[in-house]
Amino acid sequence: MTAARALRERPPGQGQPWPWLLPAVAVLALFYAIPVLDVVRLAFSDATLIAPATGLSLDAMRAILGDPALRKVLATTAIFVAVNVVALQLAGLSIALLIVRGERRGLKGMAAFRTLVLAAWVVPGIANGLIWGLLFDEAPYGTLNSLLGYAGLGPVAWLSDPRMALVSAVIANLWQGTAFSMIVFYAARRGIPPVLYEVAELDAAGPWRTFRSITLPLMRRAIAVNSVLVSVQTLNTFDSILALTGGGPGRATEVLALFTFNTVFYNLDLAGGAVLALLLFAAGMTLTLLIGWIGRDRGAS
C-alpha cells in the first residue's frame, strides 16, 4: 500500500522507463532486428533462391563488391539521391511557403491546392512509373513530345537516351516525393510564432531577410529531419524506376535498390542480394548520421 502510494507520488522524470519501453523494443527486435540479423547471416553464406545456405563464406561479399557493374550502379545511385534530395527540399519548401502565404492572404483554394499536391504522394511507385512512362513516351504521338512539338520544340529522347533517362527518373521521383517534403515544411512553418513575422514587419525587414533570419533558422530542424527521411526514401526507390525504365537503357537508371532486386530475382543470388542490402543499409545509415551531424544544434546562439 505504502509502496503503491510512493510509486504514485514519484515526481515526473524519476519513473522507470523500461516497463514502457519494453513492448516497443520487443516489437522492433521481432520485426526489424531479427530480419536484419538474418540478412547479415545470408550475406556471409552461399544461399541462392533455389538452394539453402550450406555454410559460411566470404564469396558473396567478394563477388558482389568486385562486380564491375557495382561502381556504375553506385555512381547512378549517388546522382539520383543527391539531385532528388536537394530538389525535393527546394520544391517542398517552395510549395509549403506558397501555401502558407496564400492562406495568410485568405486566398481561396489553398486547401484544394494542398490536397492536389498530396494526391501525388498516395500514388504507388509502380503506378507513378507507368504514368510517367506514358507522358515520356517517345512515339510520334507521345504526350510530352507532342506538347513540345506544338511549341516548336523537341522531340526529347526522354527514356531512350541514357543521360536523359536518369533525368526523367529524377523528374518522376520528384513529382511523387515533393508532397512529403511539403507536408513536413508546411507543419514546421505553421509552428513558427506569427509574432516573429509581425516584429520583422515592424522592423521593415524585406521578404528575403525575413526568410533568412526567421523562417530558415527556425525550420533548420525540420529540414534536417526531412533530409534524412527523403534521403532514405530515395535511396530505397526502385519500384517507380522498375516501371519507368526497368533500369535501362543498359544500366543507365539502375540504382542500388533495383540492382539488389535484380541480383536476387535474376541471378537467384540470395547471398549477393543480402550483401547489397547491407550496402544499402550502410549507405542509408551514413547519410542519416552525416545529415544529423550537419544539422546538429550548435547552441542557443
Binding site: D46, T48, L49, I50, D59, A60, A63, D67, P68, A69, F136, D137, E138, A139, P140, Y141, A157, W158, L159, S160, D161, P162, A165, T245, G246, G247, G248, P249, G250, R251, A252, N262, V264, F265, Y266, N267, L268, D269, A271, G272
Partner: protein
C-alpha cells in the same frame, strides 16, 4: 395481388434453373471453386488471365469450364491463389515456398521457368492423366520440356506463343525474308517520315527473348548440356555478334528509331499500328487478335504476318513461350486432379476460349477458333520454334542481353566490348549458382 407474386416466384425459379448462371456463380468465388463444405481441397496458384481475367468473355468462359469440372467432382473444392504479373518474383517465391513445404498443390509455371522447377525436383508426375498418345501429340520442344528421362509427365505446357513479323502491306507489300531485306524495306519507309520497324529494346525480358530468335536462327546456343553458358565462345560468339550487329545496323541506319531502347511492352506496337506511325514490328502472335479488335476493318486488312526473317531466307527461328500447369503435391490424388485441370479445362477448351496457341497438333483441327489463315502461319512458324533454355542461369543471361542491347543501341558500347562485359557477368553469376 397473388398473380404478380406467383409470376415473380416462377420467374425466380426459372432463372435459378438456368444452367451456368446463378449455379456457376455459387461455385466460383474470389478464391474458391466448388462448394465451401466439400471434404477435399486442392490449392491451385494461377495467373489472372483466365478465371479471374478482366476480360468479361474470357472470365465467363473459364467460369463455365471450372463449374462443369467441379460439378463432376462434388467431393472437391479448389482454393485458388492469384499470382501477380511480376513473373520472375512470383515464380521464385513459388519455388521457395514449395521447397519449404508451403507451396500450393498445383500451380501455373511459366515455360521459361519450367526447367528450373524440374531441376529442383519439386514437380510430381501426372502420368495417370496423360497417355503416351497425348504426349506424342505435343510439339517436340514442348514434349522435351514437360517430360523427364524416365518419361514421366512432370507438367503440362498448355499454350505456347511465338514471335512473328507484322507489316503494313500498303507500305511493305512483300514479306521480308532476310535481315537485309528488313533493313531495306524499313529504311525506304523511314525516308518517307514514318518509323520503319519497331522492336523491343528496353530493359525487360521481351527484348532478350525477341532478339534471341536472331541468334538461334544461326544455330547459336546459349548454354551447353550441363547448363553452363557458352554464348560467348567459339562459333557462338560470332553468331551472337552478328545478331547484335543486325539490331545495331537497324538503329544506326535509321530503319528503326532510337526510341526502341525505351520500348518495354508489346502494347507500344499495337498503339503504333493504330496510329499508322510504323510500317513493321516484331510482335507476339496474340497481337493479331488485338489488331483485329483495335483497328477498323479496312485498316486491319492491310496488316499481315510472316515468319521472322533470318540472316538468310533458310535460317529461321522464333522464340516460344507460354504457361504450363504442374503438380507440386505428394498426394497422388491431388497430382491427378491437377493434371485433369490442365487437360480438361486449359488444354483445348481453354486455348480455344482465348485464341491461345495449343501445344498439341490435334487441337488446331479440333476447334473452329483455329480456322483463320494466320494460324496456318503460326503452326508453320512453330516448326522453327525454340524454347528458352532450361537452365538456372538463363534469367541472368537474359538480364545481360537486355543491358548489352541497351548499351549498344544507345551508342554507349561497341558490340564486342558489350559482349565481353555480359559474358564476364554471366560467368561470375554462374560460378555462384
Amino acid at each position: 395481388m397473388k398473380t404478380p407474386i406467383l409470376a415473380a416466384l416462377s420467374a425466380f425459379a426459372t432463372i435459378a434453373a438456368l444452367p451456368g448462371t446463378s449455379h456457376a456463380q455459387d461455385l466460383i468465388g474470389r478464391n474458391r471453386v466448388g462448394l465451401p463444405d466439400a471434404p477435399n481441397t486442392l490449392t491451385f496458384r494461377l495467373t489472372s488471365y483466365d478465371l479471374y481475367s478482366s476480360d468479361p468473355s474470357t472470365k465467363e468462359a473459364f467460369e463455365r469450364l471450372f463449374s462443369e469440372f467441379i460439378s463432376e467432382r462434388p467431393d472437391w473444392k479448389i482454393e485458388t491463389q492469384l499470382q501477380t504479373g511480376n513473373i520472375g518474383q512470383e515464380q521464385a517465391r513459388l519455388l521457395q515456398q514449395t521447397q519449404a513445404g508451403r507451396g500450393p498443390d498445383c500451380a501455373m509455371i511459366d515455360s521459361s521457368q519450367l526447367a528450373l522447377f524440374k531441376e529442383t525436383g519439386v514437380l510430381r508426375p501426372m502420368n495417370a492423366v496423360f497417355s503416351e498418345e497425348d504426349v506424342a501429340d505435343l510439339f517436340p520442344f514442348v514434349r522435351d520440356a514437360v517430360t523427364n528421362e524416365a518419361g514421366d509427365v512432370l507438367a503440362w505446357w498448355w499454350f505456347t506463343d511465338l514471335r512473328v513479323l507484322y507489316r503494313d502491306t500498303t507500305l511493305v507489300p512483300d514479306a521480308p525474308q532476310t535481315w537485309a531485306e528488313v533493313e531495306a524495306a524499313a529504311l525506304a519507309v523511314a525516308e518517307e517520315g514514318r518509323e520503319g520497324i519497331l522492336i523491343n529494346g528496353g530493359r525487360w525480358e521481351g527484348t532478350a527473348f525477341d532478339w534471341l530468335a536472331n541468334f538461334w536462327a544461326q544455330g547459336g546456343r546459349l548454354v551447353d548440356e550441363d547448363g553452363a553458358p557458352i554464348f560467348a565462345e567459339g562459333e557462338n560468339r560470332e553468331k551472337f555478334l552478328a545478331a547484335i550487329r543486325y539490331y545495331e545496323g537497324l538503329v544506326d541506319s535509321g530503319a528503326a528509331p532510337a526510341r526502341i531502347t525505351s520500348i518495354t511492352d508489346y502494347d507500344a506496337f499495337t498503339a503504333a499500328a493504330a496510329a499508322s506511325s510504323a510500317a513493321m514490328f516484331v510482335g507476339g502472335n496474340w497481337q493479331y487478335g488485338q489488331l483485329r479488335t483495335t483497328l477498323p476493318e479496312d485498316r486491319f486488312a492491310d496488316w499481315a504476318v510472316s515468319e521472322l526473317p533470318g540472316p538468310t531466307a533458310d535460317q529461321r527461328a522464333t522464340g516460344t513461350g507460354g504457361w504450363s500447369i504442374a503438380a507440386l503435391s505428394d498426394d497422388p490424388e491431388k497430382a491427378a486432379l491437377c493434371g485433369e485441370i490442365a487437360k480438361e479445362i486449359y488444354a483445348g477448351p481453354g486455348n480455344a476460349a482465348q485464341g491461345l496457341l495449343p501445344t498439341s497438333a490435334s487441337i488446331y483441327t479440333e476447334y473452329d477458333a483455329y480456322d483463320g489463315p494466320e494460324f496456318e502461319l503460326f503452326a508453320e512458324a512453330l516448326e522453327n520454334g525454340v524454347a528458352r533454355p532450361g537452365a538456372a542461369i538463363y534469367p541472368e543471361i537474359s538480364n545481360q542481353i537486355q543491358i548489352l542491347l541497351g548499351n549498344v543501341l544507345s551508342g554507349t558500347q561497341e558490340p564486342e566490348e558489350a559482349l565481353d562485359a555480359a559474358a564476364a557477368a554471366v560467368e561470375s553469376a554462374y560460378a555462384r549458382q
